[in-house]
Subunit: 204 residues, 2 copies
DNA sequence: GGTCCCCTCTGACATTTGTCATGCCGAGTG
DNA sequence: CACTCGGCATGACAAATGTCAGAGGGGACC
C-alpha cells in the first residue's frame, strides 16, 4: 500500500475543524498533518508541511478559500485543493474552478463521502457536488461588465452615490448609469435588490 | 455513576453533525440518541426520544434554534436547551435567554469544552460564552419600537416604500416616518445601512 | 477601415426617499 | 385628571436616486 494522504484542514470554527480531523483520522489512508483557522494561517501551514490535499472552508477570516487556493497553486503545485462550504453560490464555484480548485462540496455531505472525495482529488481527478454544478449551469454567466460589478459592489453596504463615485474615481452621473444598467440587466427593482440578486448568484 | 446524558443534536450540515456526534460519543457519560437536520425535525425527534439536553444550531431551515427552544420548553420542560452558533449576534443571545435557553456558545469552542458545557447545562446551570455576553452587554437593548423594527424588517430586502406600506397595512407617509426615526436612532445614513446595523446587533 | 462594445462623461427629467411640522387617538402613569 | 408616549396619519419640501438621450474615445474583430 502507498503512503497515507497528508491533509491540511482549514476552518475558522474550532469545533468543526477538530471534529473533522477526528473523523478523517479514522480512515487509515488519511492523516491530518496541519490545521489552520484563517486564510493566512492556512498558507503558512501549507508552506511548512507541504500537504498532498488542502481541505479549505470557503469563508474564513483573512483570505477566503479561493484566494488561498490561488496562492497555493502557485507555490505548491503538487498540493490539490478541495473546498468545503456551507453556502454554495454558483459564482463561488466558478471562481474556485478558475483558481485551479479540484473539488467543491457543501458541508451537507457525510464524512464518509468527504473521505472518498479527498481520495478522488488526491488521485488527480476533479469532483464537484452535482447539485451545486446544476445551480451554476442554470444561473449562467454574469451579464455584468467589469465596471458594473465594481460599482455594484461598492453600493453593497448602502453607500450613497456620492461616496461610490469618490471611491471609484468616477463622476456621479456615470455611477448612476452603471447602477441603472446593472439593475435592469438583473431585472431588479432598485440597486439594493440588485445587490442581493448578484450576491445570491455569486456575481459580486 | 448515574446514567449517561441523553443528547439530541440538530444542525443542517451533515458533515458537522456527524463529526460532532462522533466526538461527543467519545465521552462516556454522553450519548447521542437523536439527530436532526431542520427545526421541525428537531422537534419531532425531541418528542420521540425525550433527550436530557438538546444541542441546537441557531440557523436551521424551517425554524431557527430559538423557535425550537420555545416549543421545547413548553412540551418537554425536562429537556435543557444549548444553542451553538457560528454567528453570535447580541440580539440572538437575548432572545435565546428569553426563550429559556440554558446555554449559548460559538462554534469556535473545542469539543472538550462543549462536552463540559453540556454537563454544566444538564446539571441545571446556565452557561453563556463570556465574549458573546460582553458583546450583548456592550450593545445594549434595541432602541427601536415594535413598529419601527417591523417596518425595518420589511425594508430589509430592498423593497420600496409603497410595497412596505402595503405589506404592513400602513400609509406610505407613516412608513417613511418610521424608517426615518429608525435610521436616526441607529445613527445610520439611510435605511439600508440601518438595516445592516440592526442585523449586526441582532435587533431584527 | 468600418463596426461593435465598453468606458466615461454631461445634462435634464421623473420618481423615490428623507425630513419636518403638525394633528388625532388610546393606553399607561404621575 | 393632565401628561406623556407610541401608533397612525397628512402635507410639504429638500435631497437622493432612477431613467433617458446623446456624445467622445479606445479596443477588438472582421
Amino acid at each position: 500500500m502507498t503512503a497515507a494522504v497528508r491533509l491540511l484542514l482549514a476552518d475558522d470554527e474550532h469545533l468543526i475543524r477538530g471534529a473533522l480531523a477526528a473523523l478523517l483520522a479514522l480512515e487509515d489512508d488519511l492523516v491530518v498533518v496541519a490545521e489552520a483557522a484563517s486564510g493566512p494561517e492556512a498558507l503558512a501551514m501549507a508552506r511548512a508541511h507541504e500537504p498532498d490535499v488542502a481541505v479549505l472552508d470557503l469563508q474564513m477570516p483573512g483570505a477566503d478559500g479561493v484566494k488561498v487556493a490561488t496562492s497555493l497553486r502557485a507555490e505548491l503545485p503538487g498540493c490539490q485543493v478541495l473546498i468545503v462550504t456551507s453556502h454554495g453560490r454558483p459564482g463561488h464555484l466558478k471562481r474556485a474552478l478558475a483558481a485551479g480548485v479540484r473539488g467543491f462540496v457543501p458541508k451537507t455531505v457525510s464524512a464518509q463521502r468527504l473521505a472518498e472525495i479527498i481520495r478522488t482529488v488526491h488521485a488527480g481527478n476533479r469532483y464537484v457536488d452535482p447539485e451545486l454544478a446544476a445551480d451554476a449551469i442554470a444561473s449562467g454567466d454574469s451579464p455584468l461588465t467589469v465596471r458594473e460589478a465594481e460599482v455594484l459592489e461598492l453600493a453593497a453596504d448602502g453607500a450613497p452615490v456620492a461616496e461610490i463615485a469618490e471611491r471609484a474615481a468616477l463622476s456621479q452621473g456615470t455611477v448612476r448609469n452603471y447602477l441603472s444598467s446593472a439593475v435592469s440587466k438583473l431585472g431588479a427593482e432598485n440597486r439594493h435588490t440588485a445587490v442581493r440578486l448578484a450576491r445570491e448568484r455569486g456575481w459580486v
